[in-house]
Each structure stands twice: as structure tokens, then as C-alpha cells.
Symmetry: C2
Subunit: 215 residues, 2 copies
DNA sequence: TAGATTGTTAATCGATTAACAATC
DNA sequence: TAGATTGTTAATCGATTAACAATC
């Protein structure tokens, strides 16, 4: 189904489409045109049609798009009914927040383990999953074969454990650390969340909109 | 100093430059050429020079860039020595993780309050700051005039409190909720962190690299 | 000075928008 | 059928890369 070389610009918009279509479904809306959707989302109708046509086009001339069907197609493209074995590294506030609030299962992931180097946390339950000491990582992976790791260790401490994880068969990283995994492992799937970069961007926006140095 | 209309593509790269330059400083490197930096960061030298020239250019022909000076310039552009009064809305795991781990002060922000609607959390200390019940928000803002709010309330519950915050003088949002603040308040600075979108993007990457449907 | 490397202009590439024929 | 709206091609816009003259 999926064509080669879909650009990242398009892919990055898909989750947002998925989200809006879900809202429409909740409102009982079954049909929508690219023009109506563009108004709701703040995009152009052209872009919406172009985006969907990367994957073959799911609409009908004169009618528009069926909301539920379109949402299902996007779900398929993203692979949201996958069940990728996933572990979280780091059970601090961030790791626990991610474990607690993210609907992993609705997004193609299956959270099966949480690890921390702090012995004191071992045994604590987070969302029904026990925190394990990091020393048990090797055994756990050999037994359960997770394919995705969520790196919730702030700072630059990631590198050694990162190599360990790759050797244990991890194929994808959701990376909250500053470690540049993609550079060292170009063959892996890496999605970075650089919270501090995002915060600095907000700082810039505040300055450029409300700062004194603005002419 | 700052020119008008610097494109967001450029701005989004600045925090990463800032981070890398900090690492170089730690290593005692005082001078670097666009070519060396490009190799380290995985960009082209052209792009680096173009980026810095949006702000006037900080290098010297035949020499390159002074690492410390360049870093300072980027800090100025981003406004990292600002001191924007900041409050966090939501003291769950996410709010506490953000409060604990983000170096707000190093990035132009001054965290002065944390609020939650859960009475049970009121009084608890997070990073030396007491969690306050949300009912005290009005009084607190009128007294302390925060200008930035960090929305750590998962889901779609943001809208009402969002309007309240705007009325209380909040000018910028670091938004972890799915609420589309920017659409309703185009005049404000809004930086969204859509964690679930990011996770879905990883799901796509896993599929397109390792999925069975790949030809 | 000679070598190196920037600042800056010009060329290329990719993404977005506009237009319209196809078709439901 | 007539009206609506897609799928798709062509035009525009913006961002990245290449090239090179300026200059330290």
C-alpha cells in the first residue's frame, strides 16, 4: 500500500489529521470535504488533497471523504494497530508520566517493562507494571524481545545503555535524552523529543512578540 | 539586533547549535569553522553560514567562529537571559517531571508557581515550590504577574482554563495538551509539544523500516 | 603575502498552493 | 443531468545547497 519516499513533512501531519478526524467522529460527522477540513485545521484544501493522494486518495469526487474510512486509512498508514514490544528506561517523574499518560496500545505499542538504575524504585508498580532494576535488562530482553525503547534519562548519560539496547535487539527509540542516537545508528528508527529545545523556541517567540529589543 | 521575519526553520535549529557549542566549550574548543561544525552536527556548512547570517554573521574570514562568542550571540537571539515569570498548570507526573527536570532559569524562564485542581496535592513541595489549588490562580496571578503558562493537563480539558489564563495576562503557552490554543489566540506565543503525535511518527518509522508490508 | 574561511549571491531542490479536467 | 469535489498537473514559493568574491 505505502509508496516509497513519502516526505517527512507529510508524515508529520498524519497524526494531526488522525486526531481531528477522531473529534469529528465524536461529533457524529460522517462526511467531510477537503475545504471544510482545511477550515477546521488551518491548512489549505490543496494540501489536504495532496497529502492523502500520496497514499492513493481516499475520497470521492462530488462527495468528499468518509470520516471513519479516512481515519482508518491513516491508522493503517501509521501502523497504529501494531503491537510493538516497548520498554521505558528511567522511572523518574518523566518515565512515570510517560508510562501513566501515554496510550501506548492505541498507538501501535505494547508497554511491557520499566527499568531504572535506582534500586530503591525496584518493585514499585507503575500502571500495573513493576519497575525493574537495570541489571535485569539483558535477561528481560532476551526473554521478551522488546523492539522499542523509550529513553527517559535526562541529560547526556544515554550513550552506554543505548549501545546495550541496540545489541539486545532494540530497533526504535523514543528519545527524551540529548544523546544523538540517529547519528550513531542511522539504521534505526529514532524519534527525538527535545523538550529543552522546544522551551527555548518559546523563549524566542516571547522575545520576538513582546520583547523590548523589537523595533 | 534581530531582523524581522527570521523563518521558523532557522529558529528551530538555534537551540541545537546552542547545545553543540556548549559541548565544544566543555571540551575546551575555542574556535570552529562552519565545515568542522557541519561534520559534527550532520548539516551542510552552507546552511550553518546562512543561518548565522540571518542575524548579521558572527565569524571572521580565514578563521571561523569563536565558540564562546557564537554561543553568546545565539543566547541573545533566543533571549535565554530573560526571566519570564512562569507557572505550571497540572501537578501530576508530567507537571512534576517538567518542574523537576527542566532548567527553566537557564532558558529564560522563572518558575514561580504550580497549580492543580486536586486538593490532595495542595501544599506538596515540588522543587522547592508548593503546589497550589487551582482556586488560588486568580489571586496569585494578580499578585505575581506570570507571563507564561505550562499546560500539563493531558487530554482536551484545556479550553476553559486557557481562557482564564489569557484574561489573567498570560502571553505564552508551553502546551502539552491537545487544545489548539494558537487557533483561538493568534496573538499569543504558543509552543506545542504533542507527545502522542511524536509517538505515532515513531510507529510509522518502525513500519516503514521494519514492517512486513514493505516491498 | 598565501591560505583559509567567511559572507553573500546564484542555482537547485522540495514543498505548498493554484488551477482545472475527471468523475461521482 | 447539474453541482460538487476530488485527483492531478502546473505554477509559485521558500528553503537548502553550491559557488565564489571579499577579507581576515
Amino acid at each position: 500500500m505505502a509508496k516509497y519516499n513519502i516526505s517527512m513533512s507529510v508524515i508529520k501531519r498524519l497524526p494531526r489529521y488522525y486526531r481531528f478526524l477522531g473529534l469529528l467522529l465524536d461529533q457524529g460527522i460522517t462526511r467531510i470535504s477537503s475545504r471544510e477540513l482545511s477550515a477546521k485545521m488551518g491548512l489549505t484544501a490543496s494540501q489536504i488533497r495532496q497529502d492523502f493522494n500520496c497514499f492513493g486518495g481516499f475520497g470521492q469526487q462530488g462527495y468528499g471523504y468518509n470520516v471513519e474510512q479516512l481515519r482508518n486509512e491513516i491508522s493503517k498508514i501509521l501502523g497504529l494497530s501494531n503491537n510493538l514490544g516497548t520498554i521505558i528506561i528511567g522511572a523518574g517523574n518523566l518515565g512515570r508520566a510517560i508510562a501513566t499518560h501515554m496510550s501506548f496500545e492505541e498507538r501501535g505499542f505494547n508497554l511491557i517493562g520499566i527499568f531504572d538504575k535506582n534500586e530503591a524504585l525496584a518493585g514499585e508498580m507503575v500502571r500495573g507494571i513493576p519497575v525493574r532494576h537495570i541489571d535485569g535488562l539483558d535477561d528481560f530482553c532476551r526473554e521478551n524481545h522488546p523492539s522499542v525503547a523509550v529513553l527517559c534519562i535526562p541529560g547526556e548519560h544515554g550513550t552506554p545503555i543505548e549501545n546495550q539496547l541496540v545489541e539486545l535487539g532494540i530497533k526504535g527509540f523514543w528519545n527524551f535524552s540529548h544523546s544523538d542516537i540517529a547519528a550513531r545508528h542511522p539504521d534505526l528508527a529514532v524519534e527525538n523529543v527535545h523538550l529543552s529545545d522546544s522551551l527555548m523556541t518559546l523563549c524566542y517567540q516571547m522575545n520576538s512578540r513582546f520583547g523590548k529589543n523589537d523595533r
